[in-house]
Symmetry: C2
Amino acid sequence: MRILRIWPTSLWTPSVFQMSRMAQNVYIFSGVVCYLLYYEYSYISSKRIAHYYSSKPQPHQFTILVRGIPVSSGSSCSETVEKFFTEYYPSTYLSHSVVRRTNKLQRLTSDAKKLYRRLVHLKSETNPQRRSIRDGFCGLFGHKVNVLDHYGKKLETLEDNVRMEQLSVAGKEVPAAFVSFKSRLGAAVALHIQQGTNPTEWVTERAPEPQDIHWPFFSSSFIKRWISKLLVVVAYAAVTILFLIPVVIVQGLTNLEQLETYFPFLESILSLTVVSEVITGYLPSLILQMFIAFVPPIMIMLSSVEGCISFSQIEKSACIKMLCFTIWNIFFANALSGTVLYRFDIFLDPKEIPGILADAVPAQLLIVYAPKYDTGGRFWPTVHNSTIFSLVLMHIIAIGIFGLKNLSLASSLIVPLPILTLLFNEYCRKRFLPIFEDYPLECLIKKDRQDQNDPTIAVFYNKLSTAYEDPALMPIRHPRSTDDHNSPLLQAGV
Amino acid sequence: MRILRIWPTSLWTPSVFQMSRMAQNVYIFSGVVCYLLYYEYSYISSKRIAHYYSSKPQPHQFTILVRGIPVSSGSSCSETVEKFFTEYYPSTYLSHSVVRRTNKLQRLTSDAKKLYRRLVHLKSETNPQRRSIRDGFCGLFGHKVNVLDHYGKKLETLEDNVRMEQLSVAGKEVPAAFVSFKSRLGAAVALHIQQGTNPTEWVTERAPEPQDIHWPFFSSSFIKRWISKLLVVVAYAAVTILFLIPVVIVQGLTNLEQLETYFPFLESILSLTVVSEVITGYLPSLILQMFIAFVPPIMIMLSSVEGCISFSQIEKSACIKMLCFTIWNIFFANALSGTVLYRFDIFLDPKEIPGILADAVPAQLLIVYAPKYDTGGRFWPTVHNSTIFSLVLMHIIAIGIFGLKNLSLASSLIVPLPILTLLFNEYCRKRFLPIFEDYPLECLIKKDRQDQNDPTIAVFYNKLSTAYEDPALMPIRHPRSTDDHNSPLLQAGV
């Protein structure tokens, strides 16, 4: 009804020709977007394959993560893995690292690391006063002691604790292991074919890069992870829907008259121009921004509880959550405030399209990130899907708006468009998506054959067999000599 | 409103206790069904694995179907397949059979087969009169000729045509081939890992048993099959919805009063007890049965157009179509006639449940079929899913009916039940479904190792390399001597 009020249909009744022109514009726009999407998908696919061919042997290409290892009471997890893979992959199996519960150890090593940094900092201090503290209550009373000795002793105790915990951790096996193979094909076979007769045992998945692993997740079992995944879905839905509350409040703040009706005592204050400008202009966006700022950390928290095994997976999952959240909330916020019309009016006046695009495009949906993890272009399908979703949403809104404006011909002419777009997406899924899920056998074997002629492959295999050791389990050694200021802080792995 | 008329709420207002008892009955029933489903799924899974372990080497365990072979202009399809698989599977590749366009050849061989049967039948004929016909118009005029000679010449001509067509068919290659491997693992690797960099090329799928292949399907291309699949979905939806028309007509026939109003001249005839009994009692079920009898052949026709590669796939697909059709139509027919209430009244009077079940169960939800194709229990997931669907449908109807009867507590107590049932189904999908999709690596390797010690495996490999030849391409030879009455009709492959 609101839309009709903005633009009464009685003022202008478009001809059949004009209506088909409007529909035609939507078709042209969608066609161009689909063409660009296809071209881009094809281009990024070829880049992904080229990137793989040019890559050096990397641990994660040869390694899989195995979960749900069925440990029998007589043997350890490590023995079970060794037995299974030497039996079924005699020619390609290389080594494995069983995952251990190291939450406590991780805390201890991180404390030791912090203390050592402080110590190094103090050693570089030239003022002798600062090198001593009192050993009493809050460092205020008691004898003066040399702070270097004090921290040195504390660090020694911590290191002893770390060593003791490292010993005790050896028994705290989680039924999960990183299994490395001598060839990429070996890893791919183990990844793609169900291993044991019980599909919840020997569950295999791609291993992340060693430095990308999110170690704490491993403590939980299959059923625990399943439940926490479910809870995360529920929590995510709750956050997404509950976010409408601040949006509605913000919408309320822009309406001063209503505020005055509910809180009559505010009338005198609200009549001041400054106050009303702050409340209607600044406060709503402040509150909204404040709430929006809370959302990404919440999404990252939800994703890390979900059972992701690597930081890159957590980030990807949080990004997708954030994307859905933004689409849902911005669409709703827009729908509530009616501004959704803005973008669709361009179809009613086709001559303005180039002008509007010329304004809008350089103003941006261009931010450059430094890559932390190399996904090899695996994020593209998400971008593609989001664009397809936006296109279909646009079609549906266009159908609705043309319908509301009594442009029924234009409206019904657009009906086949979302169906065609979804069929196009289905074709793209078949044509390109598998490339982004895994590398084809052709590539795997070609790379494996390259390695056979590579003289450094033996060195790589050596590195590979220790690449997936938990860094918390590495021997800890902090050099004590004062000459060691410029040596690395932690000798290995931390 | 109709339901309220049958059972006015004013007559009985159930207490909170009674309402929770009703809900409790639905919970107990669903719980028992889920327990039985879980037990059955687990039992059939173990049977499936045991059946696999006890099976002899069979061609379809070692063979895959490859489609979308990228034939370059210089070489034939057969050469391309040979080159690809000898390069990437040097140790496990055994042989291949390229599929050829044999529609015409199949028609010719089937004609020759029929003619030969007729000839054999005539040879066994003792009456010499019947061994001669006239060679003129419709066999009525012209010279009398020996019918044996006549048919013999005709058969010779046909056989010559078959041989010529066999020669010309050699060039009519379809870009598809059955590729056989020396081990089950080799076939599994080729099946599960994407082969080429373009996912629409070298598409692999499981090969059916050789005698189960539906050869005519191969003539169509990827895009043709995709379109025909789409058309089948539309046709299926149309058939399913249009079937409501006879259902509505049948519903009309049971209402004599309405018939008399529309056709007043029938009043005198309808007043006869015999006529009214036939019309209301016999005619509706006759019409409905007649229409229902048409449905399975229609479904089989739709499934064979769909592009299934084997008869068993056609039957499975037709069965699933029939199942959905029946559920949809029976549910609607029931909903229209209001009899859906019958089954749910049992929850309102829990004491009758055992009695009703005791009556209903032995009356059946037991038909034994002779197995034509060995699916190894692969149909069970369909049965499981249908049962889950029925359970959830029951919950939704129960929520609706309890709501209509103002038993709002009972209604809302049941709300979590469909969600729990779907979660249970999700767990079963994770726990059992992969076993029905493919055999695990453990089984494959154990079976492969058994074969290595089997002295007959060389003979099996020999058989395997010709198992997937199109029967239409086999040499045709019909023995002519009159002593050959008891020899097989066609020497090879037909």
